[in-house]
Symmetry: D2
Subunit: 344 residues, 4 copies
Amino acid sequence: MNFGSDTTAPAHPRVLEALARANTGTQPSYGDDAGMSRVRTVLAQTFETEDFDFWLVASGTAANAIALACLCPSTGAILCHREAHIERDERGAPGFFTGGAQLRLVPGFGARIDPAAFAAAVDEHNPGFVHETPVHAVSLTNLTECGTAYQPAEIAAFVRRASGTGFWFHLDGARLGNALVSTGASPAEMSWKAGIDVLTLGLTKTGAMGCEIILLFGKARDKMQELRIRAKRAGHMPAKMRYLSAQAEAMLTGGLWLELAGHANAMAQELAGAFTEAGVDLAYPPDGNEVFALLGAQDGEALKAAGARFYAWPGGSSRFVCSWATSPEEIAVLRAVLNRPQRV
Amino acid sequence: MNFGSDTTAPAHPRVLEALARANTGTQPSYGDDAGMSRVRTVLAQTFETEDFDFWLVASGTAANAIALACLCPSTGAILCHREAHIERDERGAPGFFTGGAQLRLVPGFGARIDPAAFAAAVDEHNPGFVHETPVHAVSLTNLTECGTAYQPAEIAAFVRRASGTGFWFHLDGARLGNALVSTGASPAEMSWKAGIDVLTLGLTKTGAMGCEIILLFGKARDKMQELRIRAKRAGHMPAKMRYLSAQAEAMLTGGLWLELAGHANAMAQELAGAFTEAGVDLAYPPDGNEVFALLGAQDGEALKAAGARFYAWPGGSSRFVCSWATSPEEIAVLRAVLNRPQRV
Amino acid sequence: MNFGSDTTAPAHPRVLEALARANTGTQPSYGDDAGMSRVRTVLAQTFETEDFDFWLVASGTAANAIALACLCPSTGAILCHREAHIERDERGAPGFFTGGAQLRLVPGFGARIDPAAFAAAVDEHNPGFVHETPVHAVSLTNLTECGTAYQPAEIAAFVRRASGTGFWFHLDGARLGNALVSTGASPAEMSWKAGIDVLTLGLTKTGAMGCEIILLFGKARDKMQELRIRAKRAGHMPAKMRYLSAQAEAMLTGGLWLELAGHANAMAQELAGAFTEAGVDLAYPPDGNEVFALLGAQDGEALKAAGARFYAWPGGSSRFVCSWATSPEEIAVLRAVLNRPQRV
Amino acid sequence: MNFGSDTTAPAHPRVLEALARANTGTQPSYGDDAGMSRVRTVLAQTFETEDFDFWLVASGTAANAIALACLCPSTGAILCHREAHIERDERGAPGFFTGGAQLRLVPGFGARIDPAAFAAAVDEHNPGFVHETPVHAVSLTNLTECGTAYQPAEIAAFVRRASGTGFWFHLDGARLGNALVSTGASPAEMSWKAGIDVLTLGLTKTGAMGCEIILLFGKARDKMQELRIRAKRAGHMPAKMRYLSAQAEAMLTGGLWLELAGHANAMAQELAGAFTEAGVDLAYPPDGNEVFALLGAQDGEALKAAGARFYAWPGGSSRFVCSWATSPEEIAVLRAVLNRPQRV
C-alpha cells in the first residue's frame, strides 16, 4: 500500500541475480569491464542504431545534470517546464554541474510544455546579445512530472520549431519505459528519431537497484569524452562499475524494463478506474504509472487510515505511484476503501 | 595475478548476501531506510562514540569532495600532500565541489606530509590578508598513496601544531582498514581521538561493491545538513539507499572490513618478502596492502609475461596492490618468477 | 535626444573635478586610501547611522552579484521579480558569483513583486526539505525595471511578511536616487529602517563615471570580510581605488546625487506629460526617470526620424530614460513631434 | 619614498586629460563607444598586426582570470610558475572564473619557469586519461613576480617545446612595458610573434588610473564572443566604457606607456646601483622596475626610519618598486641612508 513513490520498491529479482553473476573474478575498473560491451550490444538492439555512446550512473539527478552540463555552458540557459524535476526536485543540480547556467522556465498543462510558449521562446532567441542568457539546450521529460506523456510526434514538433537555433534536445526519461508502454512508441521513435540528442534513460524507478543510462546520439557523441570527464570528477565513475553494467544488462535484456513498466502502468489504470468509479476526479490523464487524484479530505483520511501512503502535490491533488511491485491486491484494498457505504 | 588495483576485485560474498536480504518490501527512499539506523549502531560500536553523524556514497572521489566542500569555502584552500589522491587522481573534484577552492600542496617522503613543511604553512597562515587564499582544511590520507601509514600520534601532532588556526582536519581513509591493521590503532584512535573532524572511510577497496562512509565527529556535526544538501545536488543521495546501507552494515558487522584488510596486508607482506629475497628493493615501506618495487626491466617483463598486472608509478617504481581476494598461490607464482635461475 | 539609457550620459563635471583632486601623490592601494574614510563619513550622514560597512565597485552587475553571493549559498535560492535586472540583464551573474544558486521568480505588475505571490512563497518555505532549493535572500529593485517605485512601507511589509524565515533582504538601487526623489523617502527610510540588510546604491546612472556602493547594515556587517574576499577574487578590488572613492565622495557630498536624480525625474515628468497630452498611453506610472509609452507605429517612426533614441520593451511599450544631462530642449523637440498636425 | 608598489602612484596627467576630453555628450554603452575604435587603431600600430581582438577591464586580476577562463575549461589545468601572481595574489580568481580548473605549478629561479620542468610537464601530458587533469593553457608572466624578464626567444622556446599538445599560451603582462624596455623587444616580438595567443597588457601599474587590455591574437580570436560574455557576467563590461577606452588611448598613443615604463626602469637601475655600491646584494637581476635587495636588519631599519616604504618578500629579500612617478631625488635619499658612515 506504498504509493509514495516507485523508488520505495525493491529491485527486481533478475537484477540481484545479475549482480551475483557479476561478482566473480577480477574486472577492469572505471567502465572498462566486460559487462559494458554487453550493455552496448543490448542498447544497440533496443534503440535500433549503432550511432550512440553511453554511460551509466547510479542517480537520476546526476544523469540529468551531467548530460545537461555537456550541452549547456555555464554562460547559457536550459529551457524546461516550470514543474520539471530539474527545476523543482534536484536541489539546483543543473546550476551546480554547469557552473551557473540558468533555467528558462516555460508553462504548460500537466507538466507538458505549451507549444505556443515554446515558440515564443524560440522567436526571442538572440544569442549574440551579450546581456541576456540564451538557451543552449531544451530539456523535455517523458513521462512528465504530472504523469502525462508526449507522443514522439510532439517531441519532433518541438525539435522542428527550434530549427536553426542550434538548441540541443535532452530527454529526461526517468520513467521513459512507462511513457513508451503508454504511447506504444519504440525507444528509437521516442528518442533519436524524434530529434533527441541526449537521453537519460532511468531504470531505477522501473526496477533496478540504482542505474540510469545516459545515451548520446548522432552528433552529440562528440560530447562523450567530456561526459566521462564530468562523470569522473563528480564521483560518477565508480571503481567497480561492473555492478552498474550488470543492472543495465539485466533490465534491458529481453525487454524486462518494458515488461515491468507495463505492469506498473496497468496497476495505475486499475487505480485510476477505482478513483473514477468512486467519483473522484483526476487532475491529469494517467498516461503512465502515476495517478493524481483530486481527493476530498474524507477520502484522503480514509485511505491513510487504511495504510495507503501517497503525497500531496502542488495544485491540490494527491499523487499515487505504482511500481513493478504493486499488486492487484493493493489496488483492491484502495478500491474497497473508496467504495465504503458510509462515504458521502 | 591482477595486482593493478584492489578495485579490480569483486565484492565479498557477505556483501552480496546483505543486498539480497535488503531486497524485500518497500522502504523509504533517500536515506530514511531502516538499514541506516543499523549502520549508525555498528558505527557507534566501531568508533566507540555517539558523537558523530554519517552519510553513505558509492564513490571515494565523491566522499572526499563532498566532505571537503563542507569544510572549505570556495574562497579558501585545502592543504594536502603533493601526491594526494585529491590532487592527482580525482580530475579536479575538490575544485568542482567547492566551487573553486585551491589545493595548497606540501611535500614529504612516501606521500606522508613533512612535519616541517606543515609547520611552515601553519606559521604563514594569515587569514585576514585578503589577497592570498588561506587554508581552511587539512586533508591527510591513511594509508597514503605510497602505501605508507601514519601512526595516530603523528596525526595528533599535526592537529596540535595547527592549534589556534581553526583548520578542519579531514582524513581520506580509502584504505583506512589497511592502515589500522598495520599500525594496530583502533578506528577511534586514528580518527576523532587524534583530532580528525571528518573521515571518509572507504569500504569499496576493502571488499564492498561500492560504499564509502563520510563520518562527521564532534563540532563537525554542525555540517551534517550541508553535507546532505551537497550530496543531494551532486547525485549522491540515490533513491534506493537501502543498498548502500546494506553494504555498510555487512562490512562493519563483526569487523569484516578489518578481517579483509588484514588478509590484503598479509598478502602484501608475502609479496614484499618475495621481492626482498630476490634482491628487488622497495621504494617505500609496505605499511598496508601496497608494495612499490624498484623492478629492473628484465624482472618487469618476466612478471608481465607470467600474467601479472601492475602499474608503473611516478618516481620509477612499480605498484602492486593486494586485495581481500588475493591468494597465496598468486604470490607464490610471482615469487617463482623472481627466483628463476636465468635471472641476472 | 538619446533616451536609450541614462548610461549613455557623461559623468557630472564635479565627478571629474574630484578625480583630478585625487590624482596627486602616493596612496595606499586596494581600498586603504584616505578617500575611503571620507566616503564613510558622508555615507553615515546620508544614511543617518554608523551601523554599516561598505565597498565600492565600478559595475552594477558586480555590485548586485557580490552582495547576493554573500547572502545566498550556492545551494540556495534568491527570490526576485520575473523581470528583475538580475534575472534578465546580467547574463547569469548571480549564478556565477554564488556558484550555482537559483533564482525563484515571482510575478507582479510593473516589475513590482505581487504581495500575494510573495506571501505564497513565504508560506511554502521549507528549508529542511533537502530536495528543494530554499530561498535565502530576497532581492527587491527600487526604482524597478518598469520605472515604478516602492514606498518604504511596502518594502517593510515584505520584510514583516517574511518574519521568522531568516531571509536576507537586498535592495538593488541602481536608480535609488530616482525612487527617493519620487517617494520623498530618506535613504535611511528606504533601506535599513525598512528592513533592508544590503543595499547596492548605484551612482553611475545618476551621474558618476562608474561607481556603485554596496552597503551592509546591522547584522549583515558580519559579511564584510566575505564581501571583500569576493570582490578581490572577482577583480573588483582595483589597485588604485582612490578613483572610486573620489567619485563616491563627489556624488554624495551636498546631496549631488539626489539633485541630479531630481532633474532626471523632472525631465521624465515633462516627457510623460508630452505623451499624455498627445494621447499616448503610458504602460506604467512614471515614478522616476523612465517613461514607458505605448507608442503607435507612426509616432515611433516620427520620433526616430527626429533623432530620438529609445528601446522597445517586452510587453509592447517603448522605454525612454532621462538622465542628469537631459535638457528641457530635448523634451520640447519630442513634444513638437508628437503634436504635429499631420498626426492621425 | 613609497617603494611599496607601483600601484600607489597616481595616474599620469595625460590620462586625466583624456578622461576630461571623453566626458562630453552621449556615447553608446558597454563597449560601443567611439573611443574603442581609436584604441583598436593604436593597438594595431603598437602590435604591428590587424589579426587581433581586444577588451578592456579595470583590474589585472580580472584581466588574467577572464582570459584564462576562455582558454581552459573547468575540467582542465593551467600551468604556471609556483610564484605566479595568479597562484599567489589573486585569491583563487582563476578557480572562480573557470569554475574549478586547477593550477599546475612548476618551479624555476627568479619566478621564471625552468625549461626542464616545463619539458617534463609536456612529456607527461596525457589528455585522454580521464582521472588526471590535463593542462590546457600555459600562463607566463613578463615582467615576472621577481622582477626578472624573459626574452622573446625564451617564450618562443616554451611554445615550440609544447608543439602538438594544443596548449594555449597566455602572457600576464601586468608590467609588460617594463619587460619590453628592458629586453629591447617590440610588443609584437614579445607576444604573437613568439607564439602568445592571449596577452593581458597592464597599463595601471605603468601609469593609468585603472585599465588593462586583453588581446586575443590569431586563432584565439575565436574566443572573443566568449570573452565578452564572461566579462559581462563578471561585471567587467561597465556601462560607461568610454572612460576605459580613453585611458587606453592616452597610454598607448605616442608610446606613453613605454616612456613611463622606461622611466621606472631607469629609477630601478639607479636604486640597484645604490644597493650594490653599498654592498647590499640583490636576490634577482633587476630586469625591470623592481629591485629585490638582501637587506641586513640594520639597513632595513635605517631605510624605514628615513621614510622609505617597501615589502618583505618570500625568500628573505625586500622588494622595492619604482613607478613613473618615482623621482631621482627619492633614490638619492635612499642612497644617502645606505652610505651613512655609521653603517657597519
